[in-house]
Amino acid sequence: MKCEQIAELLPDYLQDSLRPEQNKIVEQHLAACADCTEVVALWKKLAILPDEQPSPASRERFDAMLHAWQSGRAETLATEKRPSLGSIFDWLRSPVGAVAWSLALLVIGAYIGTQLGSTKSSSRDLAAMHTELDGMRQLVALSMLQQESASQRLEGVSWTRREDRLDPQVLAALKHTLRYDPSVDVRLAALDALSRHAAQQPQVRSSVFDALQEQQSPLVQVALIDQLVEWRDPQAAQHLEKLRQSPNLNPTVRQRADWAISKLN
């Protein structure tokens, strides 16, 4: 067999995953071909590259990071255990309610459209329908961002990702979520959603600057710092410097802020 044909089998031979008969074919070729034998020898020779051993400091850094995350999570869980006030209208705020009244709005919109728009062109009807749908999506997102359950609020955040440009009301709701939502996961999701719109909507950056000074969760603080480094905003360094001066700042966050300042300068 020629080298080109063996080339198809050789990678599997190296990982010892050939069938016995294929293995035999390769070995017969290797016995007669110095070139392929050398490639196989090189693969085996790679084993002489030594293994690096992690330093004890690595585990300490990890423990500090995990501790910071757990403290932030404990605070979050304590905040989330608030009693909720029951109401006969609560179902309207549930996802089912939100979808129900959104559909109702759509039907009303369509009815009004057929009544008033019979003389207008179909393209105008379509445009109106698109606007209606955009409005409905925004309503659903806004409604879900106000739910009691963190997973429903997460879903609300993901609804906002379907928008090319955030409506001012949705933007305000997301900014509010980033600053005040009791769940760390929802705040992180809100940051991710907001960061997608930073290029088109400059006010997003100011909301991240504000959140940086107010956040208590180290995990969210680190995520905000990373976001600032990614944007390379000229104002970021001064906000990070201000954060560094906070007396009770978590050591991991302080370390991250130092790193970020060094990257930005």
């Binding site: 990982q15 490639v39 051993q53 995990l66």
Partner: protein
């Protein structure tokens, strides 16, 4: 990992103990920079905490963590170009008990590895040292299994050529061009 996803952060310690050494070796062989590699290992576990909700039950954890590891490195180099070129002092430490020839071969081999283009070096490391199967690597880098095999074969030939050149060159001769450390493409759906 499911326990970590559902809030039991302390379980992450078990995963850290299991994966920190393989990840450290992945990064060291890929970048030749131990300090940076240690930072990137920490970054991987921070990302696991931040993105734990994206882990799906039934997904092989090993493939998922290497996905995160690749992205952490790609994002790092995207933010901090230009990359520091490989220097001999960055070469991995060799067990002093090894014979001198073995140590020299190990250094040459590491230098030859660092001369490979980034994508080929990464594939070779994933398949040879991280014990990932070709199909797992194919999913990781977003190409077909046969493409991975072809690239591995070519990478080995290039490695052999680089190794021969280094062996033939006098010890104090200038090194061939700096490694092509351009990070590979990041897949859109990745965390």
């Amino acid at each position: 990992m499911l326990q970590v996803r559902n809030g039991a952060g302390e379980t992450l310690g078990v995963l850290f103990d299991r994966y920190q050494a393989p990840l450290l070796n992945f990064y060291c062989k890929l970048t030749g920079d131990r300090g940076l590699s240690e930072d990137l290992v920490q970054e991987v576990f921070l990302r696991i905490l931040r993105h734990r909700q994206t882990y799906r039950a039934g997904t092989p954890f090993r493939a998922w963590i290497y996905q995160i590891a690749r992205n952490a490195r790609i994002d790092h180099f995207r933010k901090t170009r230009p990359q520091v070129p490989f220097e001999p002092e960055m070469a991995p430490t060799v067990n002093p008990a090894d014979p001198a020839q073995r140590q020299q071969e190990s250094e040459l081999l590491h230098r030859a590895l660092m001369q490979l283009p980034e994508e080929k070096r990464e594939l070779l490391i994933l398949c040879r040292f991280q014990e990932l199967r070709y199909d797992e690597v194919a999913r990781l880098v977003g190409c077909g299994v046969s493409t991975v095999k072809v690239r591995i074969h070519r990478a080995l030939h290039e490695l052999r050529e680089a190794f021969h050149q280094l062996q033939a060159a006098p010890a104090d001769s200038p090194r061939r061009g700096a490694p092509q450390n351009f990070p590979p493409r990041r897949l859109d759906h990745e965390v």
